[in-house]
């Protein structure tokens, strides 16, 4: 299969056909996780390294389940992201791993562009599990799969991303993935947490959560990183919740049933109230289940698409 290239770095630039194929491949893989024996031999003999330069529980475990259910051998590396000239460089870490003859790297890194940087320098397949504030493509894909499960086609559907879009890799992957699939995308949040150029990304902006709720078929509620307040982007979590919090009272005024997505982990009582997170509109646990299937699909589609050494040397591996 060469639906994807060597790597999955982001959803930007992927076509509707490519994304549809990933979601279609994920569909039957969902069943594997529902069986008593949750294992297929597809990736037997392959070695996958989960290279995490940032703490992550959910994404790392989801990838690890996906890898194990496909029978890959997995190694988890929790590396400290070196900040400028301290410790081993990213490229050295990667080359050392590759010298141990691995097949794939799943990378999470605090720097935007880190996944692509790695992909251009090693032969192994690279899957971006979140690079800085750039992209988190498997999260985007599991959101798309969840929305497709619930809404059918995404054509013309209205999805609003709520919260800290400026610092969110989930937001970017969602915007490009949703747009490729024909959905209308909006964002809602304090202007201090939206990129200045957000409209140039083909996205509408809502300043009021009430207006977003009135417009949307689904809200994807982003986690508000608590350090944003210390850095002065918003005055307080309390005010954030009062103005932008997704609450039951606000949802009750919606003209139609809304789906509520959240990439987790949630700050209950900040960006989302508990009765919404646990309520009938929430598809948050469905997202988590889909995450494993989507990651299995990506592993499957990339396996075998290796670069030649010559391609890597040219930096044209993708």
């Amino acid at each position: 299969m060469t639906i994807l290239g060597k790597d999955l770095i982001g959803l930007a630039g992927l076509t509707r056909e490519q994304i549809t194929t990933i979601l279609d491949v994920a569909e039957p893989l969902k069943a594997i996780s529902e069986r008593a024996i949750k294992k297929v031999p597809t990736l037997r003999g392959m070695t996958v390294v989960n290279l995490f330069f940032e703490p992550s529980t959910r994404t790392r475990i989801s990838f690890e389940f996906a890898e194990k259910r496909m029978s890959a051998d997995t190694v988890n590396v929790a590396a400290a992201a070196s900040s400028v000239s301290k410790g081993e460089t990213l490229v050295d870490t990667a080359r050392n791993l590759e010298a141990m003859r691995i097949d794939m790297v799943v990378i999470r890194h605090p720097a935007s562009g880190a996944a692509r940087f790695l992909a251009e320098r090693i032969e192994s397949n690279v899957i971006n599990a979140g690079d800085g504030t750039h992209e988190h493509p498997t999260q985007g894909l599991l959101d798309l799969l969840t929305l497709r499960d619930k809404l059918g086609s995404l054509d013309g559907k209205r999805i609003c991303i709520v919260g800290d879009v400026l610092h969110s890799r989930v937001a970017r992957s969602n915007i490009w993935g949703l747009q490729a699939m024909g959905a209308e995308v909006a964002v809602c949040g304090p202007r201090s947490l939206l990129p200045n150029a957000i409209r140039e990304m083909g996205v509408q902006v809502f300043d009021r959560i009430e207006a977003a709720i009135e417009w949307a078929d689904a809200l994807n509620v982003l986690r508000l990183q608590l350090e944003r307040m210390q850095l002065g982007y918003i005055p307080s979590l309390r005010e954030y919740n009062r103005i932008f919090g997704v609450t039951r009272a606000r949802l009750e005024r919606a003209p139609r049933d809304l789906l509520i997505l959240h990439p987790g982990p949630m700050n209950r009582g900040v960006e989302i109230d508990s009765d919404v997170a646990d309520g009938p509109h929430s598809v948050i646990l469905h997202q988590v289940t889909n995450g494993v299937a989507v990651r299995m699909a990506v592993l499957y589609l990339l396996a075998g698409n290796k670069a030649s050494l010559a391609d890597v040397a040219k930096g044209g591996a993708a």
Partner: protein
Amino acid sequence: MSAPLLLTGGRIVDPAQGMDAVGDLLIIDGKIASVGGTIQGPDGARRVDCSGLVVSPGMIDVHVHLREPGREEVETVASGAHAAAAGGFTAVAAMPNTKPVTDNQAMVGFVKRQGEAAGFARVYPYGAISVGQMGETLAEFGEMVAAGAVAVSDDGRPVENSHLMRTALEYAQTFGIPVVEHCEVMSLAHGGSMHEGVISARLGLKGIPSEAEEIDVMRCILLAKLTGGHIHLCHLSSKGSVELVRWGKDQGVNVTAEVCSHHISLTHEAVEGYDTNAKMNPPLRTQRDVEALQQGLKDGTIDLLVTDHAPHHYDEKEREFADAPNGIVGLETALGVNVTWLLESGVLTLSQLVDRMACLPAKVFHLPGGTLAKGSIGDVTVFDPSREWTVDPARFKSKGRNTPYGGRKLRGQAVRTIVGGRIVFELNG
């Protein structure tokens, strides 16, 4: 002293004398002895055929980083001066952000002597504005000037304290030197690593708004207005900065400004793919900015072209974008970039290009040269404005290879660089 040198049959372009004609040029004892028409030349003169080439006053780059002392593995005064000569520059001014900072007469003297010992392009040291470039206490301008400093700057960072900047502008007048500011409001740039716009939004990189530069441009112009001092503004990158400088000049403020070759040729689109060789401070901005900078250069709002030559070791650039250092090398590509983007495209005439690369740098910084008038120093650039070549960083004389122009075809290349009547660079083949 070397033998007399007679350059024959070149197109002599010297805007300082309003000259643009085919003719000969004779240099004796390191000085221009005769210029224009047919010159016989004394016995024993070395004759060099320059037909089909442009003969101009030696080009001067008033903004380079030569890294010595402190980072000799990255560049030395000698390797940088060699790179300058290979790029057609007969002189460069070396910024003082060395390790330790060039903030005293001993250090200034060291840089100057290293330049003289190297024997390529002339090297004029800058002194720091503040001790250690810490922005707190004025450095000893007087002693540094006596030791050879031609200007003062804390380049690499701004002088954030406005009282210190005011004092520097006043104190520098005693010695007749410009105060040279890297315009940036650090608290607004806020750790950004590229221009703030749609591309930074897409790439998820923290952006630096143009206003981070423009606010400091305005502050410096107003402080120059207050003090009557000469402020020279480094590496302008935005349309707004051009407009502010235009306003300042209209007000009669003693303000001069420079632009880098990369800012008149590339935009923030070069960062796509997280290319760390497109990372510099100030960052590459939009096409609108590029056009405004070109226009500012044409109408004289911006006085001169520079490189901001900033070598880095390859593995310092071989890393995550946000962590990679700012800056690119430029000495060996500047002439080609300037010819390609300014001359070929019709923004500047040949005479204007020579003016902004040779005459005005000398005038603004009160340096010798900048003209081929009889009696001037024998610094000459001989170049071929129509020669096409491909940038191969492996062939640079600079130790730095960090350029966004690698593999690009450029037009315009130095053929001979002459310093004090001595040929310090000659293009092979």
